[in-house]
């Protein structure tokens, strides 16, 4: 697998233009953060990459291969897994079974059920949910379900993860834990990450590069320090006087 390239992607829902002419790329091993106010188009961008919906214009490629028109399950097996901002656990299944499904189906090598269970258990251990493995997923707290989202994405064996606000709604302590956990799995599995986050400190700390979306347009891109000083970003975020 090589990098992800998003090329001149546009998307409208009815008359509303959600993304206009977005282009960027993510190299293998890189962590790229995406920031932007609510409605800036961040989650839509993730959905398009993951195959939920198709851009009106432009192309999305993984290496040389275009992802357009591929189903979400196919894209997952090609090595891209996403988490959901609004968590979607398999509530009636055990925490372990949630991840076993990901390991069984997300991995193109089609592991046996026994191997899938081993992989799932290690993904759960990586996010600190090993002791909850046999509880129903619906009994987890929000923080637990956010971790389960990460474990499931990791369990697919994908090495390119799209993390959609995995820290939103968590307490400061939980945010700190999640940060440590993501840094650890990123290093251990040599992950490439594309991260949407509202917790600024978290985003600045993790990202090699940051993209700023505003009303569907990419208004800035650069390393965290440059973004923190970027006049356009400051104006958009803090108003004219900043």
């Amino acid at each position: 697998m090589t990098g992800l390239a998003v090329e001149q992607v546009s998307k409208s829902f009815g008359g509303l233009r959600v993304l206009s002419d977005i282009s960027f790329s993510v190299a293998e091993g890189e962590t790229v953060g995406i920031m932007g106010a609510n409605g800036a188009g961040k989650t839509t961008l993730f959905s398009l990459i993951a195959g939920h919906g198709r851009p009106d214009a432009g192309d999305i490629r993984l290496g040389q291969r275009s992802l357009l028109g591929l189903s979400p399950d196919r894209i997952c097996r090609m090595g891209i897994a996403r988490t959901f901002q609004i968590v979607k656990p398999f509530g009636g299944l055990s925490v372990l079974d949630n991840v076993v499904v990901a390991a069984l189906y997300g991995n193109p090598e089609r592991p046996s059920q026994r191997d899938a269970e081993t992989q799932a258990a290690s993904a759960l251990a990586a996010v600190g949910l090993a002791d909850r493995a046999h509880d129903l997923a619906e009994t987890l707290t929000l923080s637990g379900q956010k971790r389960l989202e990460v474990a499931r994405a990791l369990g697919t064996g994908a090495r390119f993860l799209l993390l959609d606000e995995v820290m939103a709604g968590l307490t400061p302590t939980e945010v700190a834990e999640m940060l440590g956990l993501i840094a650890a799995i990123r290093q251990r599995h040599r992950l490439t990450l594309l991260i949407i986050e509202h917790v600024m400190r978290a985003l600045m700390q993790q990202s090699d590069r940051i993209l700023v979306l505003h009303h569907g347009e990419l208004i800035a891109a650069g390393d965290p320090e440059a973004i923190a000083r970027d006049p356009t970003v400051l104006r958009v975020y803090y108003g004219e006087d900043a």
């Binding site: 993951a50 939920h52 189903s71 979400p72 399950d73 196919r74 997952c76 097996r77 897994a81 996403r82 959901f84 979607k88 656990p89 398999f90 509530g91 009636g92 299944l93 079974d97 949630n98 076993v100 499904v101 990901a102 069984l104 189906y105 997300g106 991995n107 059920q113 499931r152 994405a153 369990g155 697919t156």
Partner: protein, 303 residues
Amino acid sequence: MTRRRVLELPLLVAVLGAVLPLSGSSYLLGIGFSLCCWIALVQSWTVLSAMAGYVSLGHVVFYGLGAYVVALSWGALPLPVILILAGAVAGVFALLVGLPVLRVRGPYFVILTFGIAELVKYVVILIESRLGEFSRLMFGAPDLPWLYGIALGLAVAATLGAVLIRGSRLGRGLLALRENEEAAETVGVPTTRLKLIAFVLSAIIPGVVGGLVALRTAYFEPMQAFDPTVSFTIVTMAVVGGSDDARGPLLGAVFFTLLSELLWARLPQFYMVVLGVLLIFFVLFIPRGIAGIMRSRLRRSPS
């Protein structure tokens, strides 16, 4: 799941079923026949409706098609071929209607399956009346002990199938998509393909059962072969018995077959009323069914 656990239920059905003919009573054998048919129907139904969560209220369509296949080919082909054909036609029909039908979820799917069963019923009635046939008699159908043996085989096969599928890769994928289809897709589950496989698997045995019941009555008439009561009974048995594992359908089928045996004799018009009342009662108060009550009792009692 250990091998012993997998074989437990199918073996239980097989052993109890094999003992029944020793009674020598053809009345009991008749009840056993319909019990086996219901077990086979409900277990098949759970593959789609309990595991994948797509509740079918039109499963009689497969049963009716199987009966029609048998009525049309009776006398022209040997019995095993006819029964295999009945299952195959039901399976192919599921494959053809599956792709469009499985695009809708929840109550829409329920209504759609009901509508398709009704549609097929009236198409068959139309065809039959054009052919000048109002009902078909089948002469020389096998005796009850033979039919019973086949029905028992189907009940065992359907129970074994339900147990095996639930623990398999396919079953795990179906359970995931039942819980959340979008999330399942996102972790690599090919949801469309899995739903279609489940739909076809849940149709084949009901097709054979329909053919078998037609042979038992030696009679085919569309209003009866495609009677929606069959679909309602399947759903009610699954709800009352519980459908979280393969025990529920067994309990539901036994409970209802015995109940209807008592009611038909005394209060024939009362059957549908009882069906409705029990369905409402269980949905409201015991949503996990009889098997669910047993499970929580076992868990609570110190072992």
